[in-house]
Symmetry: C2
């Protein structure tokens, strides 16, 4: 509302030129100490802030990156964002944020908004469909570097930061096997969910390694991977048969929480009668009773790494970078059988 004050205001107040004021404020060398001090003081007095728009326009450097996430209130993504913002702040970058809600059209809008705002790079966790999609082409034709987070595409030219999802699932299932569980079920996501499929493959690999026959009746697909309800319903189906599984690996912690509910309802003890392992090491996993064993996903570190990669791409012009975070299992109470046998 109030008039923005600019270099001109300071200049007029002190009877010097705009150029001189600029020089003083930017610590240039060819300026007298006294005038500089006077200018600094006046600037402070008038509460001057440089207009970032004018500066960027003139210098043609826009210290801005864009971040696109499917959902901002999803715990994992919010930690990724935190990691990005940590590093971005240190490097004096402005961070623009867009929430795609897995909507391709929205994702495109965000990218175009980012391009209008001259982002020098983008970190994106694409919606599932983008994986094969063309929204990224918008960035490519503009040669705007981007880093994929958590969900790499099948294009081998892209830089990405991801988590070793198959191995995370493998470790989870192997752990269950080693604990002595015999019939291990898996509650997955829908068929085209990239993340779910990656974990599915790890599940199968672990079974194969220990010569456990794959039993399709032990695998169920849920629609909503972020809510417990599907896990609840599907595990009820799985547990209400004669030859029921004695352990269930879940595609997310939230799904696992649904399995807890079903177990309680049926009076099935966890972990003695039913082992459970989730995925994400989200907040709830520590709070469930018994505490939930799960696969860790270090969101902050992944975010920080993504920003570091982006910076390398921007500055160094490095073409392709990738990092796969090593999977790590967090063993808690829900999968410990050893002491009871």
């Amino acid at each position: 509302m109030a008039k923005r004050i600019g270099l001109k205001d300071i200049a007029e107040a002190l009877n010097v030129s705009v150029t001189t004021v600029s020089r003083a404020l930017n610590n240039k060398f060819d300026i007298n100490q006294e005038t500089r001090n006077a200018i600094l003081q006046k600037a402070d007095e008038l509460n001057y802030r440089p207009n970032a728009y004018a500066v960027s326009l003139r210098k043609n450097e826009y210290f801005t990156i864009g971040v696109i996430l499917p959902s901002i209130d999803h715990y994992f993504f919010s930690t990724v964002l935190k990691g990005i913002m940590n590093k971005a702040h240190q490097a004096n970058y402005l961070v623009l944020i867009g929430e795609s809600n897995h909507d391709l059209e929205r994702e495109k809008e965000i990218i175009e908004q980012f391009m209008s705002h001259c982002v020098t790079g983008v970190i994106i966790s694409p919606s599932d469909k983008t994986t094969y999609g063309n929204n990224l082409d918008l960035l490519k034709t503009r040669r705007i570097p981007f880093i994929l987070v958590d969900r790499p595409t099948n294009d081998s030219n892209h830089s990405f930061v991801r988590y070793d999802d198959p191995n995370g699932a493998f470790l989870a299932v192997e752990h269950l096997i080693q604990q002595g569980y015999k019939r291990i079920g898996f509650i997955k996501g829908y068929d085209y969910c990239v993340i779910s499929n990656a974990r599915y493959s790890g599940y199968k690999k672990a079974l194969a390694k220990y010569d456990i026959p794959f039993d399709e009746s032990l695998v169920k697909s849920c629609i909503h991977i972020d809510k417990p309800n599907d896990g609840y319903e599907l595990s009820k189906q799985m547990l209400f048969v004669k030859n029921r599984p004695d352990a269930i690996f879940c595609v997310t912690d939230n799904v696992a929480s649904g399995v807890y509910q079903a177990a309680i309802e049926y009076g099935i003890n966890v972990p003695t009668e039913l082992g459970i392992v989730g995925y994400s090491n989200s907040q709830i996993s520590k709070h469930l009773t018994p505490t939930l064993s799960t696969v860790e996903q270090p969101g902050i570190e992944m975010g920080e790494q993504a920003f570091a990669f982006l910076q390398q791409n921007i500055i160094g012009g490095v073409s392709r970078l990738e990092r796969t975070f090593e999977a790590r299992l967090v063993i808690r109470q829900s999968s410990i059988l050893q002491n009871f046998k």
Copy 2:
């Protein structure tokens, strides 16, 4: 990396002036249909995007708001942010985000960055100390409108969106009383935590209404309000005495989760032997066993309301707006005694 293409590039390619190109792209009237079409086509072909910096600078209108939150990966705040971004997107505003981490110095840096980027308004959930502080003065002297979220200051001129915290606590405690609990404890935050104190007052008010004497030994203060550990330790202290409380109201769900742990450790049944009510209706409250009764905090709605207020302040120049969201109790299993008595 690639050269940005501007109006000039289109103009040169078509042998017209920059002005004409601008006119064509902005749907001005005094332009020939054919040239317009040619320009539109060329712009599309070259993948032109207007430079938002130049536009804003020239038009002197910056459709940007800033949001400052203590923590971005805190569930409640992430939902507030989601609400803000929903509305901001509809209104075509750019959203800048800063994470203060309850650090006053950082908060100031963010505000200055925002001012450099010419935000037309700010939504801020101030760190505790700012409540009495001067960071907001930076905005005031610049006449940049701002809306406080969740944590109003004691300055009666400020616009804010908050939650009726005292009443939320009151409802929680009243509910426990009505269920038949007799000795109701409270685990609060540290002494200067605004939110904690608001809830504390509601606790006391409920006791007073039902003529239950206030017993200081039933009130404990924790440091970390967002983690279960303090709740765990403090409730152990409270439960390990002869005349222990039969219900505990907690300043947050996370603290309540710590009480669960202590109860399990001591073999105390929830809710029959110990009633528990938390605060925030966070993710975990639905997943705990038994499910946790808690006070709802509608983050998305509060965020949307905050943006609506900000917009009114910006557009209409309305001076002061406030809204207190009505408290609502979510009754789950952890506080139900009625059926057992």
